[in-house]
Amino acid sequence: MNRKIKTIIILAALVLPYVSAVEANDQLTDNTPKITALTHARLMIEPGKILDDATLLIENNKIIEIIKNNKVPSQAYVIDLKGYTVYPGFIDPFTDYGIEFEYPKVEATSPIYEIKRIGGNAKNGAIHSEKEWFNYVHPNSEQANKWINNGFTSVQSSYQDGIFRGQGVTLSLADKTANEIIYRSNSAHFLAFDKGSSPQDYPTSLMGSIALIRQTLADATWYKENKSKSFSKTGNNIVEFNNALDKLSNIENEQIVFDTDNLNDQLRAAQISIDHELKATLLGNGKEYARIDELSAFSYGLILPLNFTAAPEVGDDDAEREVSLAKMRHWDRAPANPMTVERAKVPFALTQYGIKSDAFWPRLKQAIEYGLSEDAALAALTTEAAEIAGIADFSGRLKPGYMADLVISKGNLFKDGSIHSVWLQGDEQQLIARNSHLLDLTYQIQIGELTLDLMLDNSEADSDKITGTLSSGEQEITLSNISYHDKRLNFTAEMSDAGFEGVNRFTLWFDSQGLRGRMLDKHNTLTPIAGIPTEQVIAAPLAEDKPESSLISRLTKPNVAYGIEGSVSSEKLHISNATIWTSDEQGILEDTDLLISQGKIERLGKNLSTPSGYRFIDASGKHLTAGIIDEHSHIAINGGTNEGSDAITSEVRIGDILNPDDIAIYRALAGGVTTAQLLHGSANPIGGQAQVIQMRWGESAANLKYTEAPASIKFALGENVKQSNWGDKFTRRFPQSRMGVKSLFSEAFNEARAYQQELKAYKRLRSSEKRNHIAPKPNYRLAAIVEVLDQQRDVHIHSYVQSEILMFLRLAEAYDFKVKTFTHILEGYKVANELADHGASASTFSDWWAYKFEVYDAIPQNTCLMQNKGVLTSINSDDYEMQRRLNQEAAKSMMYCDMSAEDAWKMVTINPAIQLGVDTDLGSITKGKQADIVLWDHNPLSVYAKVESTWIQGKPYFDRKQDKLAQQSIAAERAQLIQKILSSEESESTLPPGEIIEDKSEPEWHCDTQFDVWKQSSQGRG
């Protein structure tokens, strides 16, 4: 296969000095008639529709007719394409071709909170929606050849930088002026989550990017509705001119292309597009197969790159251990991804994006070997791509009126064919001279009286050279100095043996019969030559090992180690003779039975009989508890737990960035944890909106959410928010002291109230008044704070020392809302009375202290002191590891301050349930509540206890015996995959090397992880 690619390139170079259609200084008008008939060809009219032995009639740059009987109008110039196939030119809908532009470099050092406003641009440095990239189109033939050589004739292009990247342009790859090649000046809007080169800190996180998109779209709608009110006579204000918003005013009717680089982000892009009723096409990532059902439910089209991952390094056992099963599986399955997408009936186009252009065809053929249909492949390159690029009404098919953008191949391109020429707007660009195959044949030639066999070979893999021999019977003469230029074949041969003395010079050319030419002998005597081909050398079947197309890896949900096949269903269970820790007023019940059905606690009692259809579990000597609830966790999220840029970021939502692939979910289950509140970090006083999840391993991100939980938000106080431990660069953001923190909160609350008043006032206006009054600009940041003030959103506030705790209690009282939970609150014991009086609850660490100054007065007796004063207290983890041992953390209060076992256990079950507002259905083993239960082999507070099984809604999500089996099956699957990788490396591959694809490095998130995911850098750690 390599050989072929090479040939194409060499010949392309050979033929290329191709004359531009327009000469700049042409004095004369070019009136050459441009009617061309491509006759006797196989025409791929559109996917699934083939015409054999037909003619395609072209005039200038358009197709004007398809002629089935080859009756060509006499004025047409005929090119006989017998034996050739004509495809519509291919379209790549995701490129940055032909855009001459660069954003100016910003010299300022970070942190940068505001950017330069210039020319009505957006407030955020990652929003470039005012850009219309056709303004910057300039063709570049060298670049264009990267596409043309693969049969592409047009592309959709945009400068790929930022979140709102501007409106793309669809253009031809022809080497003409910009004006001639632009097919569609305003094609799709390009969007991404990655803020790219924006110098501004905000957003540092994925949830920040999502929030910014949401806010910007709302702003655009508002702008559209209000900009005309600026100058109304009764108007109350003017609307600032904002070109970026203006250009988004019609976005819901326009196409968008969403660039993401992984499956979870792709699904998030789909979600935000659906939420805003956008017409989206999603850039693919190659892992669509892993959640294809979720993806196809959105009914969005895809642009698939053919990035097949390089084989992971497994040669050395130490290195191999670092390679996850997920990665090996992806290596196994990536080539089958296009097939999976096709079978899920998700429309898709293909792109060269993300791979080297010479890998494109080998990869596409590999995908076809793995089951992608040729029709789908063709559609992906033509009709589907044309739709996405907005040119389907004149491109992507062989149809009268469509552009004469064509690909001409010898043979079936999707099997063993090769592209011979590409027609761009009616002009041919030959990649392989139409008769070049003639250089691979054997001819019988006549030199005067002499008949000889001329054998030519142009197929040598490692050489550009043509080789050849002249022979007669046993005798053979090797040819020297062979060259093929200007359609003439020259060589020399020492032919004394054949009766021609000395070195003879040959000049030959091809014609319809075969070969013609002459030979000059040493006396310069000219002898004419004629030759005919003797045999058709059928291209030797490529010595190519078919890749093993049978997939050996399992496909699980999530598609990582310990993922599950199929789905988990709710059980009917009779658990008998257990010690049941109810976490409610029933206390701890010895030798008690429990029935669960339909995901609920059905009944508790002694010596119950097993109803029919119930699974019986003998739990003698074992303990049964409600699932553990963690008030404070940062597992199972992507792209940063902190939007640590601005001091107030209440618009960001943890719910946007759930990561259902995180193994931490499974590990939490193994520690008996069934529910957790995922909180924003503590990098700013007003962080983001929290999300309560259940550890439903194997479900989608959306299904992890415990939707019954009331809305909540993370606030924070102390060292982290005043950037005390962020390093010397971070001394400019307000606040830098606890005094400033209070002031900032007051300010935020005041602003939120004012915003709420404005909204109310506007709502009260008559519709005629509304026509003249500018509506308040939507502000998701303040809207979330309004919810807090209205008690519609619970506050979980990170806090340590007594001064700040009291400050916030009193502030909340002044603004007339109740603080739900102080989280961490290591000095809560000092103000337990005040907390109890306010009705705030506390969620703390069992024994953490001394890691920073504000925790120097932390004591492990904090729980008891607060509890004794009537403060509802829980223990949280804020940590991946500790989360799976929260039972032990609770037990520490028994050691340090003699808490009763029952109270200690409540600190990790019913108490956090109350704090999260989910206690009506979770947190205790109470009849009618959700069956979130855990079976332990010992007293659950003991260090010697292990979880045997964990159920959520009666579904068995973890079972230690199953886990043992999973461990074995993972080991076996790894071993198989390693063998497959190693043997693929043994045999020499004809495929281009795979892309090196590593997971984006994501640290374990903690409350204080300051990480700019877009710059992949930590910004100090507090």
């Binding site: 009375n833 004591i859 082999d937």
Partner: protein
Amino acid sequence: MINGHTKTYLNLSWALRSTLALPLLMLSAFTMPTQAHDILPAPVQTSAILFKHATIHTAVDGVKADSDLLIEDGKIMAIGKELLAPEATVYDASGKHIYPGLIALDTSLGLVEVEMMRPSNDSREVGEINPQLEALTAFNPDSEIIPTVRVNGITHAQIVPRGESLAGQSALVSLDSWTVEEAIVPTQTAFHLYWPRLKPLPSDTKKREEQRKDYQDRVSLISEAFTDGYRYYLTHKAETKSKLDMRWQSMLPLYRGEAQLFVHADTQKQIEEAAALAKRYQFKLIIVGGYDAWRLADLLNEISAKVIYTRTLSLPMRKDEPIEMSFKIPALLKQAQVPFALGFSSDWNSRNLPLAAGQTVAYGLSKEEALKSVTLDAAKILGVEDMGAIAVGYRANLVISGGDILDPMVTKIVKVYIDGRDVDLNNRQQQLYQKYLKR
């Protein structure tokens, strides 16, 4: 040695039997201090103490139910049933457990007060080749953290300099002393080498190469340092003159076989490279961290290396590994017959060492083995021969608890003795607790 002392005990107890009439002074059970007071280092043991009717976890000779224990002059004098010691103060330990004092390995106690406050953090130095640094130099016996650690039964700690590559020398200290010098428990010199680790490689080919090269450079730097040290040692051995080089001078005991090399390494590759280094110079090797060490029993046993496993309360190092991997590695080490002890690499958090030991029990170690891994095995790794067990002749480092020391649910430590000295169990946290109980 143990036998020799046992003899002494027999003679002594025989002598004491006849003096039954002497008054027995009953010690009252420990009560929580009700008011804040200065926390003074305990005075030297002046009178013998006889603990009666205790459950004694010897760590060397099983668990002795309802037994007595006699300590005198900071040493364990006798263990047995119905011991008599007329001169001794009697402590009724019925219903109580007695354990050897726990030894916390690989800590930064006394070197770090508040990690994020730079002025209070003396645990690491700049530079990569600093064998001459001594942790003791920076040890603060008045750290507020120390009393909160010993209240959990930890009597001694190895304090270790942190850093990259050769970070310096650790020391073993008692957790109750007036001064640094009083705290020292002599051991062989212990050097600490942090083996570099190749970080996860990014997708970008150029950055991958950079990362690989950076790793190689750091490994070469280590290997060069040891070569240079060896050159210095050779000149020294040949008694030829050479200028003083503090780094290599400090390392001489290592080449002479009079010191130990602690290499902080977790992956198989790191451990293999560390073992190769140790073998080349015939160093006495201790692997710290030791996550993959159980896979390398032959290699480690061939050079009599030992392991301090520090990751019990950690996540599995790799995503595909069994969820309980970190918990069961001690059992795997045991199974592979690699000598090991447990450590807890922290400052304040090293007080959770008993919990870490307890955690191994549900995953394959026996309770006795778990206890041994934080007492006797720890002492053996440091080459200390009279600590970590309750046996005659051993230092009287004892912990008395109302319940199992490894299971916080029932742990109730009422007394801690270091060299027979009755250590004050009050601490900053207890003081704050008592204060706010009054609010």
